[in-house]
């Protein structure tokens, strides 16, 4: 299949991204380059100097809201993708509303507690919506243990499920970028499979 056809297909979908840090910003870049129709990004943080070691921002954007800066960067890459931003801290009272209408949600938080809260909320209150999470990306090297696992049709994990961030094992661009791009890759795969399903359904109706 040619990229133009892939892009036209992906343009029909809306992807939610919970967090605009290392995972969220890099995942969003990959999705926007792939031609996703719309992305909804939620974050409440501002860009700090220390974020530049892995997050898709520029040094002259330090001090800006992450959502605003990311939207600016994504629009510069591909203005065909509609980027909707929410300047809000996500919790179990606003997630369903902010991400309503999204075909898939990407978990892109830093703290394990926030990851847990998002997974519990989406899996119980947004049944059927696939959630792509990241767990285990701290440090460097160890390419061989970074993996992908599908739990069921609504839960997918990227990461080594092992490396927790500590003072001696910080998150860094290479491994965060790998996992963020793996998440984007899962999103594209799920959405491309919908094309196969649609073709099959069409054939069945004709028969």
């Amino acid at each position: 299949m040619r990229f133009s056809e892939i892009k036209n297909h992906l343009a029909q979908f809306r992807v939610g991204i919970a967090g605009a840090g290392g995972l969220g910003s890099n995942c969003a870049v990959a999705l926007v380059r792939s031609g996703i129709g719309a992305i909804v990004i939620a974050d409440y943080d501002i860009i700090e100097e220390g974020n530049l070691n892995r997050q898709y921002f520029f040094s002259d954007q330090v001090g800006m809201m992450k959502t605003t800066a990311l939207k600016e960067n994504l629009n510069r890459i591909n203005s065909d993708t509609c980027v909707l931003i929410h300047q809000e801290k996500l919790d179990n009272t606003n997630i369903t509303e902010i991400f309503s209408g999204c075909d898939i949600i990407v978990e892109a938080f830093d703290s394990a507690e926030m990851k847990e809260m998002l997974i519990e909320t989406v899996q119980t209150r947004m049944p059927g919506i696939p959630l792509v999470i990241a767990s285990g990306l701290a440090g460097w090297g160890k390419n061989d243990i970074i993996r992908y696992r599908k739990i069921d049709d609504t839960l997918y994990i990227c990461g080594d499920e092992l490396s927790d961030v500590t003072d001696d094992l910080p998150p860094m661009a290479p491994r965060v970028g790998i996992v963020a791009n793996m998440q984007a890759n899962v999103v594209v795969e799920i959405l491309m499979d919908k094309m196969k399903q649609a073709v099959q359904e069409n054939e069945n109706t004709i028969k």
Binding site: A112, A134, G136, I157
Partner: protein, 67 residues
């Protein structure tokens, strides 16, 4: 009873087991985790009262910080 734990067959001498008991028996110590039984997410507050039966498909994953 036999269950599937992360796609691997596991055998327990007990006939039934709560989620909390399974965590204890298996010595799973890391506390940030997600557990799904037959594709249904079990929230932490229900670990004591949720029973795992013979043949259940149990999936567990650890949540590491970082992003």
């Amino acid at each position: 009873m036999k269950i599937l734990l992360n796609n691997r067959e596991e055998e327990f001498p007990q006939e039934i087991l709560s989620v909390s008991e399974m965590i204890r028996v298996k010595k799973f110590s890391f506390r940030m985790r997600i557990i799904k039984i037959n594709d249904v997410l079990i929230s932490k507050e229900k670990y004591d009262t949720t029973i795992i039966h013979n043949g259940d498909n149990v999936q567990m994953l650890y949540l590491m910080s970082g992003g």
